[in-house]
Symmetry: C2
Subunit: 343 residues, 2 copies
DNA sequence: TTTAGCACTCTCCCACCAAGACTGCTAACT
DNA sequence: AGTTAGCAGTCTTGGTGGGAGAGTGCTAAA
């Protein structure tokens, strides 16, 4: 029994995982025997299953039931996946086509990416807006709206756009506003918030006010760990059998709608590159312990990045999820680079 | 039997509706007798119930069960609600406080309004962005991003902000772009898309290109019936007992996530003012036949408007929903007016 | 180490029954 | 005529029990 994870036992584990992934039903030794050519009898397979159970890879719902993978089993399965996991070319082509069909707007693209990923893995998908490590001042515009109020439009590096209403003590003409904007544009162009802060200029009180608003926005933007992620395809995930009971379903919905679970979930996002997989209990957040997360960052390394990923029950098609997330992050990276280059 | 809807029968109906709204259980004659002082015995109430059933106001799940209201019953109940339905002052105060606490950004306000409405009625709430009847050109800005590409930022009336990437055939400096923007700003300020279209100017090809992009955006904006509404609190609605079965739940989720059901639902939005109630079968859209919609437009009549409403099963606390939607639309109208005035 | 055979366990489903909840009807009452 | 008490009848709900089926664990032999 203590002979360790022999190749055949690994094979059995692998079969159990992939079988359970599609059926969501405990896998019986008989099933393994019938569907796969292992060259041994069900009884032998049962012995291997006993070992796998002892070793914590699998478990049984009850004494006389087939086996279901545990987190450790999934983990082993994922590690054993060759990295050759790639989306079929045909699928890649179809995806690219969808992107070409949609309006040229980055947020649409993100949404589309999430929708596609969600559909492919039949689970929920999420994306965050790409965020520069440190944003830089690019351009400022002030538009008179009313006598005492103006709209400030602030363009930051990587085409981030922010707007804010400003109200002034005294009446401001458009000319006056334009002058202020011109002056600040000349002075601040290309600077980060900290650099603006140290740069002392002769400023009229309105200019001071505008500058403060600008710094405020930039600092907020820099501090922002992640934007509230955009979630797509929650219904697909909730359609999975693990959420058959209503309360499970509702607690998941509540989780998704309210808590900023993503930050805690992605806190474990090491600086590693490539697709990362967090399985069940590996999540720090207790409430996520039944879920798995497959995600990858996209963007331009070191400069600007966002995250795309899928989330679903631990019983998830990891191979498909990994290849999907991998490919989608590639696509998004390409789009980010495109926008920054201005294609 | 054919004596018509006597006052007592109306009272019985009203009791059935309000009782069913809170319990979600068929209402028995005995219950009505015990909880309300009607001065008659259960047997008499049963006779009245028989009439109400005959007349189509109520129905029974099975032969020997209490009664549940039908759409016609809800409709009668709603009509009979005095318009004095107002949110308690204390609640109003609390809501205003929440608005003061949140960041000054219109979209946040909208989201907050929906969240509050959803919580108050324990169902889903929706808001659309306020949309001007016809938007007008306010200001244009071009920011060089790369040699052949620029970001166009377009400010339209009512502080609507649009941005788009433009790519040019030839290399464009920031000076060049600023010149173009200045020229077009001077020419188009305050105009609607149609007016820009007829205004013939001497335009260089890049100016022409920018103008076309502007018109394109404005026309799209004008045509937009409703923005994709923002939905909040879906989980509250799905927590209601009518969605106990998983398939019901999923079909609702699918409806909400995919179809633009709102436009068809709000198509019946007559030009009436005030809070409107659409109950079950009154919905044109078949898929909404189990749901009720309570909504109201907000904004500045004739100039700019959006919609706020709640959606839930026909068994809904109409009184509360109506007062909530009414009040929230007031609040939002105030905020819209504030933004336009520039408070 | 592998295998066949078999007893054992646990779930799942269905049928059945008893209790309880309400009604509808009938006949008497005001 | 409208109202009421009493009661039979109907339908739901929850609990119980048992049989079928699925799948294992164990034992003993190959």
């Amino acid at each position: 029994m203590l002979k360790g994870l022999t190749p055949r036992r690994e094979a059995v584990l692998s079969i159990i995982v992939s079988e359970y992934i599609v059926t969501a039903l405990p896998v019986a030794s008989e099933t393994i025997f019938r569907s796969y050519q292992l060259g041994v009898s069900p009884a032998t397979i049962r012995n291997d299953m006993a070992f796998l159970e002892e070793a914590g890879y699998i478990a049984r719902p009850h004494t006389s039931a087939g086996s279901v993978p545990l987190d450790k089993g999934y983990r082993h399965y994922v590690e054993s996946l060759t990295n050759e996991a790639e989306l079929p070319l045909e699928e890649q082509y179809r995806i690219r086509k969808l992107f070409r069909e949609v309006e040229e707007e980055f947020e649409r693209w993100l949404k589309l990416a999430a929708t596609i990923a969600a559909r492919l893995v039949r689970n929920a998908a999420l994306v965050t807006l790409p965020k520069p490590r440190q944003c830089r001042f690019k351009h400022l515009e002030l538009v008179a709206l009313q006598e005492f109020a103006a709209l400030m439009v602030l363009v930051l590096s990587e085409a981030i756009l922010k707007r804010q209403l400003l109200s002034f003590e005294e009446s401001m003409t458009q000319e006056r506003l334009t002058n202020i904007a011109d002056k600040l544009n000349a002075a601040y162009s290309g600077l980060a918030s900290s650099e603006i802060l140290v740069k002392k200029l002769e400023l009229a009180s309105e200019e001071e006010q505008v500058t403060e608003a600008v710094i405020d926005i930039m600092v907020t933007e820099d501090k922002l760990e992640y934007e509230q992620p955009h979630l797509e395809g929650l219904r697909l995930m909730l359609g999975q059998p693990e959420f058959a009971q209503k309360d499970k379903m509702l607690s998941i919905m509540e989780l998704m709608e309210t808590k900023d679970w993503l930050s805690s979930a992605l806190a474990q996002r090491s600086s590693e590159v490539g697709v990362q997989v967090v399985i069940g209990e590996e999540n720090r957040d207790e409430t996520l312990r039944d879920l798995s997360l497959i995600f990858s960052s996209y963007g331009i390394p070191g400069q600007i990045d966002g995250t795309i990923g899928v989330i679903g029950p631990t019983r998830m098609d990891y191979r498909r999820a990994i290849s999907t997330v991998g490919y989608m992050s590639e696509v998004l990276s390409g789009l980010v680079a495109g926008v920054c280059r201005g294609d």
